[in-house]
Structures are given as structure tokens and as C-alpha cells.
Symmetry: C2
Subunit: 357 residues, 2 copies
């Protein structure tokens, strides 16, 4: 199978994906009969291009696009032409089997990424997104659209980078009901809380996280629990068949002041963590919450080092099953995109319906 990919957004994650696809070219061909090629790209800084013939991952990586900010990848003997339209037009026009949605997240609206995904699915393309917005804000609609068009909608990289959560649930936990979950999903707040526990000020800890490239210029989105709330929404909607929006997730005892106050009154041997929890209520609805919690040392989450994340699924078949990701980053997120791409090929080869759970 040859899959033509188009990149909508190409920052750290996109470039890590191109590098990984180049590195794993032989294994993908030998084990899955899969070759990947790139037929389009669009970024805000470098502009867009389309190619009628696939550019290999190695060629794209070597071309310097988009870092060199040339309009079109410098690849010999291959027709790549300038694309000057908007992202939605790109999602329609790109001659690709799979659109990779890698633009930045607007947590409160999920746009414009949701429009990109909707457009690509409607055009009959598979979509792999690392962007949480579309799944947090429009999962049911997009899932139904993908099913109607007979294409795949995959999003492993939306929670805990590319750690296999959704692929695990879909392929390795058959006939299993997820009745709740609990985890630490935001690495910036975890890094900051761990640094504060060693005596650093919140400001110094945030600066440290920014220097490592894990925190945004404005860390409020992480520290006030919005990132975790968006992830909780994705998990609840996909794994527990809920229909939440990020604003439905209870967020209490969060933000810089709460973190400083909790750290000041923390007892030795305990740890502060920004904890995500979800449960099905007796009425059958799913309730999710993000809170700053003081945990005893024996709690598995208490022990997570600065950049680690963890998720415990409460299930009816396996009891509690916990997945812990060591240090994450763009390389791990890129792996989730690759895993999703391979899942598409496996389903294509099987001739099975997409979106089946």
C-alpha cells in the first residue's frame, strides 16, 4: 500500500514525524507493505505546496522545508507547486489519502482545526490529528462523518503524546468497559510542581519549563487546568462514550495562587499533583474533574518525575491498568502519528469498516 500524506502544520511534531518516517522506511515496507509519500504541506510561516507525485520522507527532510522557509521543498525532478490558499482549501485540494492535522490548538473553540478535519473527511480523506481540539469539541459529529465516508479518524497523539492509549483500547482491550480514569496528563504543571517541591519559586519553575521547551510563553493554559480538561474531554468522549466539552470539566483549586498556597502548607512525604479524574455517575452521565491534589507518597501518581505522565484506566475486565510515559516530546508525538498511519493501513488491508469499535 502506498499512502500519500499532506501536512497541515509542520512545527516540531511535523518535522519529527518526517524524520521518523524516513528512519523507519525499511521497517514499514518490510513489515506492513507500506510506503509513505508526501504530496502537500502548509504552514503559516513557510506557506504551502502541493505535489502530484509523492516526495519521500527522506527527500522532504533533506529539502529543508519548512525551516528554510522556501515556499516549495527543493526536491529535484519532482513537480511541487506553490499553494496560496487557506487551510480549509488545502484540506480540500491536497492530492493526499491522509491529512495530518498538526496546527496549534485553540482550546476553547477547537477551531480552526475542527473545520480542517471536517473538510478533509468530507473530501474522503483519512485524518490523523495530533490536535486535541476537534476530538474534544466535535468527536461525535466527526466520527459519524468519517463512518459515513468510510474513512479513518485517528488521534493517538492527542493525549500523553503518542503513548498507545486509544490504540490499546481499540485493539487490545476487546469487550472492555472503561468505567473511569485517573491520571496526571499535563507535563508543564507536573514539572513546575516538582520544581516547587525542591524549593524553587513558581516563576523560576515556569522559566525552567519554558527553557526546556515544554511550557508555552503563557503558562496559564497549563497551570489553570485547561490542557488537562481538554484531554479529559477527549478521553471521556472516546473511551466512555460521553459527550462532554472542555468547559464541562470541573476545574478547582488550580492556577498560580492555589499552587503557591498548597506548596506552602504541604507536609513532608506528600506530593502535589494536578490530577484528572472521571467517573460514570449513578445516573449514567460521565463527570470529569481537574484539581490540584495533595497525594500520599504511596499514590502511584505522587512519584511521577517532572516530565512524566500517567493514566490509570478503571475497567470491568482488567481492573486497574496504568500506562506511564517516560519523558515525552515531539518524537513521541510523532510516533503516535506513525502508529495511527499504520492502523489505517491495517484496516485498509483488512477491507474492514473504519471507525468500528
Amino acid at each position: 500500500v502506498h499512502l500519500r500524506l499532506a501536512l497541515l502544520g509542520c512545527g516540531n511534531v511535523g518535522r519529527a514525524f518526517v524524520a521518523l518516517a524516513a528512519e523507519k522506511e525499511g521497517e514499514l515496507r518490510d513489515h506492513y507493505g507500506l510506503t509513505l509519500g508526501f504530496t502537500g504541506g502548509l504552514t503559516r510561516s513557510a506557506g504551502g505546496w502541493l505535489a502530484s507525485t509523492s516526495i519521500t520522507a527522506g527527500e522532504l527532510a533533506a529539502s529543508g522545508w519548512p525551516v528554510a522557509r522556501q515556499a516549495v521543498p527543493a526536491v529535484d525532478c519532482r513537480a511541487a507547486e506553490l499553494f496560496e490558499g487557506e487551510a480549509v482549501a488545502f484540506a480540500t485540494a491536497c492530492p493526499a489519502d491522509v491529512l495530518l492535522e498538526l496546527t496549534s490548538l485553540e482550546p476553547l473553540s477547537g477551531e480552526p482545526a475542527t473545520s480542517h478535519v471536517r473538510t478533509a473527511l468530507a473530501a474522503g480523506r483519512h485524518v490523523v490529528t495530533a490536535n486535541k481540539g476537534p476530538i474534544a469539541h466535535a468527536y461525535r459529529e466527526l466520527r459519524a462523518l468519517a463512518d459515513r465516508r468510510g474513512v479513518a479518524l485517528r488521534f493517538e497523539s492527542t493525549v500523553m503524546d503518542g503513548a498507545p492509549i486509544f490504540n490499546l483500547a481499540e485493539f487490545s482491550l476487546p469487550a472492555t468497559r472503561v468505567v473511569g480514569f485517573r491520571g496526571v496528563l499535563n507535563s508543564t504543571s507536573n514539572y513546575v510542581l516538582a520544581a516547587m517541591a525542591t524549593g524553587q519559586s513558581l516563576e523560576a519553575a515556569v522559566a525552567g519549563a519554558q527553557a526546556l521547551g515544554i511550557a508555552e510563553a503563557n503558562p496559564a493554559y497549563d497551570l489553570e487546568g485547561w490542557d488537562a480538561a481538554v484531554k479529559a474531554t477527549v478521553l471521556a468522549n472516546v473511551l466512555m462514550d460521553a459527550d462532554l466539552r472542555p468547559a464541562d470539566v470541573s476545574r478547582t483549586n488550580l492556577g498560580a495562587d492555589a499552587m503557591r498556597a498548597a506548596q506552602a502548607s504541604l507536609h513532608t512525604g506528600r506530593a502535589l499533583k494536578q490530577v484528572v479524574e472521571a467517573r460514570r455517575s449513578p445516573e449514567g452521565t460521565v463527570e470529569a474533574a481537574v484539581r490540584l491534589q495533595t497525594l500520599p507518597a504511596a499514590d502511584r501518581l505522587a512519584q511521577l518525575a517532572g516530565m512524566e505522565t500517567a493514566l490509570t484506566l478503571h475497567t470491568d475486565t482488567m481492573g486497574d491498568l496504568t500506562l506511564v510515559e517516560g519523558e515525552g516530546g515531539p518524537g513521541q508525538t510523532a510516533f503516535g502519528l506513525l502508529a495511527d498511519t499504520v492502523s489505517i493501513v491495517r484496516q485498509l488491508t483488512a477491507g474492514g469498516p473504519f471507525g468500528e469499535r
Copy 2:
């Protein structure tokens, strides 16, 4: 798809599997188009039976076999006849698509389970085994035989009950090299060490584990590291393409005397664990070891409660990925058998080759 199953061995795990298959009947039919039926069973205490028409899981559970020790399940209107041969003859004769190998383990030889599995595969049956012996002692031979016969050989329940390790690696970690692993895989030794840490004697702790049903009458197999060595062999051979046998796994500082001595000299805040580790050496061979280790509190393994187990995979794509199983037991092991059965159906439906990795 209808799959006919035969049970070779039917202790706690087999009965939990029958109960789970009955409980999940509707979900298996609705989500996977799968119905399961039982066409044979053989245990040492209750003897054997064969049925030309499938007995449902609910009927088999209701029949009381094998606990009631009747020779043939008491199911109305269904022809089940006595089978009086040996286990190898049963593996040949049972009119089943899938043989479930659930006999007891002989860790040093892997027999007679390996013969059962070999016979069933040679007869063109898929095999799902919860028995570590065949995979630890004959994985390459049995894998090649299964591939030649175009049937499946699955063994999720051999390590950490049914926690999805092998299914995770096969379906959700594509193009990933496992370069090593580290874990706590033996729950009896973990329970005993945790109880000793609270001041109990080793003898009292072992008695407690036996009362809970997690330790055998002779706990030496667990405490001296053989159970962990067999599991390390399975993991190394399957995930790292090694060709080890349990006797190749280094076992040091193990057993009752070593545990007492280590506990006596343990410093506050540290924990004793029976740790399994494997690495690829610079020469390319895989080296595996089981040892009693003193771990600092910050080590993820230090924190495992009595009956928990954990495995960290060191990978080239995702870095370190850790799976933690909460309290395990026959129900979790039964789930692994069900997951393996569903994987067989998925591959059957896909028409893809079995054994492909």
C-alpha cells in the same frame, strides 16, 4: 464468525474464562461478529468430553463441569460424549478451531504443554495458551509451525495475567524496537517482601500469600526466581527476538535466606523487590537477569503494592513505556485469553497471514 473452543485444563482460569465468555456474549457478537462455543474439555480430575455441536459458555458454566466432577457437562439435548484418551490425543481429536492450553506449568521442561501445543498446531488448530512453558522453551519452533500451518499462536496471559503486553507490542507499537525491559513480574515474591517490610516473618508472609491463593504450596519456584525467569524468557524471545531458555536467565541473590538477610539490613525509605531486567549486549545477544534489589523510594517499582506487577519497555520510538497491573488474578488471566481469541477473529476476518509481526 463462530469459533469452537476446546479446554485443555480447566482450573480457576478456565472457569473464569467460561464465565467471562458468557458475560460478554452480547458484546462479542455485536462488536466483533463473534460467537463462541465449547466442543471439548479435559482435566485431570474430571476427565474429558467431546461434543460435535457447540455448547455455549452459559450452558457450560451452568452445567457444573468440571467442578462437579461429572464426566460430561450436563447439557440438555446436546451430544457430548466421554473422551478417555491422553492430552495429546485430545489435542488431535477435539473438533475445535482453537485449543486453549491451560494445564499446569513444568518450568524446567515446558512439558507436557509444549507437546499439547505442537500437536494442536500441527492439526491445524489455533492455540491460545496461558501456559508459559511452550513459549519459554519452544517459541521459535512453535511460531514457525503455526506460520506454516496458517494458524495463530497467542499467549497474552503468560506474563502479568492478561495485561496487554504482547497485543500492545503487536498492534500498537508498530516499527518499534524493544531494546530492553525491566519489571516486577512475580506477585508472590512481591507480596512476601511487602509483608516482611511491615515486620512479618517470611514464613508468616508466605502463609498469608497461600491463604490469598497467590502462592503455591511450595513457594520456592516464586521466591527463587524461576517464575520470573520463565517470564523474562518469554518476553525476551517474543519482544526482542532472543532465543533464551529459563536456565539462561541469571538468577542471583534470591530465595528465603537472601530475602531475610536483605530485609534485615534494609534502610528506611528503601524497598526490596525481585526485579527482572533484560538488555541487548554490545555483541547483540540478549542478557536477562532476576535479582533481589534494594530500590530507592523514587523508583517506580519500589512502590508496587503486594499484588501489583509492572513492566517497563525500553523502546527506540517511545522511550520508556510502563504498564502497571493492579491486583491480578484468574479473572485478568481469563481476559487475556478472550483478547487473544478476539485477535484471532480479527485476523481471520482480515484474511491476513497469522504470525505476521
